[in-house]
Amino acid sequence: MRSGWRPFVLVLLSALASGATVAVAAFAASGTATNSLAPVESFASIADPAKRSAAYFTELGKVLTNPRCTNCHPAGDRPRQGDDAHLHQPPVFRGVDGMGLPSMRCSTCHQAANFDPGRVPGHTVWHLAPIEMAWEGKTVSQICAQIKDPARNGGRSLDDLIDHIGKDTLVGWAWAPGVGRTPAPGTQAEAGALVEAWVKSGAACP
């Protein structure tokens, strides 16, 4: 009976070892855990400016690919919700202005601030990002190319992006999303600092 366990244990140990290797490699690549952001100064050891710039954006990608952001930057006409990014319930739709259909506007339920007793997030302006700004399902590299393109970033310059990501209050909601939602990694200030460093180092894409 005991000998029957041996192959299973060996396979399990092997799997654990390889998993640990992958986890360590991933951690080494980013330098920080997934729920935090590396400070700008921690990238100083990357001598090549273009590689350092791309590294800034890779780190920022933790925020941009987080459900707090992608849920409202969907690839389709329905927002997603929750940490598992499931389709929004009730079944609401983008509408012509990104604020819902005439019969079911975003502001019908989403008020000026989070209402935790109802588990409903809120902000003074609550709407979907335009479809040309969809991030859902895209790689960090693809989002980088998109976010630099004024035709796909809301007509913003690179300098505008520093303020938008670093100071915009709707963006800032991602770090204070209310009960039952995991905040975006790090802080808005840290994300803003990464954008600024990325822009000032040439805005290279990973």
Partner: protein
């Protein structure tokens, strides 16, 4: 705590101090005793709790109350299911619901009634072609859930009210 003052069914309420975390549904049912507004899913998915909100420009819309803070209704003018009948006289819509036996358990009825009333008032301002009526009603009532599956009879009741007064509602 926050201050709430609003108009409900033509009557002024407040200013009164309420908890920040008090939902509008609880305010109506527990504080004011207006229990006609139901608490269904608690997630704004069944719309049994929807009330009518009247804008200053004369237009109206429905709003769920289960997931919205009462404080968000400060200064607003709303109507609940208790505000439809006047002096004991049911509206044409209420009579239509009864004639068609639209509701069985009745839990979803306040939401359907409020939504249908908003639709009628919208059609009175912007008439609809007869050919578009079915779609218009279906779209208006879409989102309201009825576990007794009374959808068709609600639809028929609204349609009959419209067809009974074509000059008012139909282009």
């Amino acid at each position: 705590m926050t201050t709430l003052a609003l108009t409900i069914n033509g009557r002024a309420y407040g200013p009164t101090e309420i908890r920040d975390d008090l939902s509008m549904n609880d305010f109506l049912r527990e504080v004011l005793g207006l229990t006609g507004t139901k608490f269904g899913c608690g997630a704004a998915q069944c719309l049994a709790c929807a009330v009518i909100v009247d804008r200053e420009d004369g237009t109206s819309y429905t709003n769920p109350t289960c997931i919205v803070a009462a404080a968000n209704f400060n200064g607003k003018t709303i109507r609940t299911v208790e505000g439809h009948a006047q002096n004991g006289e049911l509206t044409a819509l209420q009579k239509g619901f009864i004639e068609h036996f639209s509701f069985q358990c009745g839990y979803c009825t306040p939401g359907f009634l409020n939504e249908s009333q908003v639709l009628l008032e919208r059609l009175a301002k912007t008439k609809v072609a007869r050919a578009d009526l079915e779609k218009t009603i279906a779209e208006a009532l879409d989102g309201h859930l009825c576990r007794c599956t009374g959808y068709v009879k609600y639809h028929q009741a609204v349609r009959d009210v419209v067809l009974a007064d074509p000059d008012r509602y139909l282009a």
